[in-house]
């Protein structure tokens, strides 16, 4: 149990996906203009990450290791994640249209989000158990959502702020990202 809590906290704060591991940087700047879309993107990523962790753990442990082809894991994982996202999109489109439209373009975009591939690879290299990898995915997704929500909240305020013209938009966002990253470094010694 303590191990699971350590994995979870480590993924949310200490080894945060965006600010410490530098994964999923594209949505970090692309989708962080509004709080609403940032949070729905975060939820979508968390959802896909958890399911991808489950599926890839099973495939890695039950197929790749017995057949002795662990070295093909990146190829297989990419394939599995793409398939999963397709299935989820199809499923949501057919059953819940409101949810489908609120996810919008973000769901197919997750296929190419390196945070999703990242969590599956981290699970392999860290040798997590099945529950461990799912908890790690949930923690990673939560950390991703947290940083995205913080960033979008700050950027919404920045829209109103009186800043030099040359700094408006992305330049000030980069500086904010650096400051956020510094702040998250403070969690470094917790565990």
């Amino acid at each position: 149990m303590t191990e699971l809590i350590a994995i979870f906290l480590g993924m949310v704060l200490i080894n945060n996906f965006i600010l410490v591991r530098f994964l999923g940087l594209c949505p970090f700047f692309g989708v962080s203009k509004q709080l609403n879309s940032a949070i729905s993107m975060g939820i979508a990523v968390t959802f896909v990450m958890s399911i991808a962790s489950l599926a890839t753990w099973l495939i890695y442990q039950r197929i790749l290791i017995p057949f002795d082809i662990e070295y093909m894991y990146i190829v297989i994982f990419i394939l599995v994640i793409a398939t999963l996202v397709q299935i989820i999109e199809l499923f949501i489109k057919k059953t819940n249209l409101g949810l489908y439209f609120s996810f919008g373009i973000y769901l197919p975009l997750i296929t190419t989000n390196c945070a999703v591939l990242g969590i599956t690879l981290i699970n392999v290299t860290q040798d997590y158990s099945l529950t461990g990898s799912i908890v790690a995915a949930l923690g990673g997704g939560l950390g991703f959502t947290l940083v995205l929500a913080m960033m979008s909240g700050i950027r919404e305020k920045l829209e109103m702020a009186n800043i030099p013209k040359s700094m408006k938009g992305l330049p000030i966002a980069f500086i904010i990202a650096a400051l956020l990253g510094l702040a998250f470094l403070g969690f470094g010694g917790m565990i």
């Binding site: 190829v75 398939t83 059953t95």
Partner: protein
């Protein structure tokens, strides 16, 4: 052995998607109309209608068919067949010729170069230095920002001799992306039936006559106004520029003959990129 397993996993993934597609029942109703409209739309996601893509536009149309009169899909307007299908799908009739528009570049090109520009090869960057490197601050810079943004290959192109953007009226579907892209605001959307094109955008008349800035711009001589026998040209005293009444114009082309600066052109004559390159 390894290849077999990889192929098996790939096949399994494909089959799972297929079975989900077939077996999961379509519980949601109301998407059929959107899909039907989406199939008619061009699918090039140019964004000229103001929506993020064709599917988003189809969604908006399914909810409110009147939207097409306000922000029409300019690509469908060019194609009678898909327009008819769209009318049937939406249950309304449209006057396509009245809504169809073309881009018109208000510049005749070849304004004198006043300094050597060696910066980034885009009009946006060049326009920030003294409104560009041409003597006339409203002259086309010819670096092709409009060509970059145009979703139709060859609908707008740069004439290598005159260094000015030229619109191929046959290919242009009037999406208006170049209008917003041009940093000097030289491009305007005009009705597709426009007959005479006015190729100058020099506005501050009372400052300096256009003649000092460019040898091809309007010098406000009123010759075209006097030459017109159909009363299709009105002289706007405020701007000192001719205004063309497209309905009265009979395309006698007398105004074009008489213009000393060659600032007027026949807009109905289609210019092709290929002809200019070989010529």
């Amino acid at each position: 052995m390894i290849i077999g397993i990889l192929i098996a996993i790939g096949l399994a993934c494909g089959l799972i998607i297929y079975f989900v597609y077939i077996k999961v029942p379509q519980k949601v109703k109301g998407l059929e109309k959107t899909e039907e409209i989406n199939a008619i739309l061009p699918g090039m996601n140019c964004g000229a209608c103001g929506r993020p893509g064709c599917f988003a536009y189809a969604q908006a149309l399914a909810a409110d068919p009147d939207l097409i009169t306000k922000t029409p899909c300019t690509v469908v307007l060019q194609d009678p067949e898909s327009l008819e299908r769209l009318e049937k799908a939406l249950g309304i009739t449209l006057d396509a010729s009245a809504m169809s528009k073309k881009a018109l570049v208000h510049c005749n090109g070849n304004s004198e170069t006043i300094y050597n520009y060696s910066g980034v090869e885009t009009c946006k960057a060049a326009a920030q230095l003294l409104s560009g490197y041409r003597k006339c601050p409203y002259a086309c810079l010819g670096l092709g920002d409009c060509v970059e943004v145009c979703p139709q290959q060859g609908a707008i192109f740069i004439d290598p001799e005159k260094n000015v953007a030229i619109v191929d009226t046959e290919k242009c579907n009037g999406c208006g992306l170049c209008v917003t892209e041009c940093p000097l605001n030289l491009i305007e959307l005009v009705p597709a039936g426009t007959k005479i094109a006015f190729l100058c955008n020099y506005k501050p008349l009372r400052d300096i006559p256009g003649r000092e800035k460019c040898d091809f711009g309007c010098i406000h001589c009123r010759k075209c106004f006097k030459a017109c026998e159909d009363e299709a040209i009105e002289w706007n005293k405020e701007t000192a520029l001719p205004e063309f009444n497209q309905e009265k114009c009979t395309l006698c082309l007398k105004c074009i003959e008489v213009c000393p600066q060659n600032t007027l052109a026949d807009f109905t004559k289609v210019k092709k990129e290929a002809e200019l390159v070989t010529a």
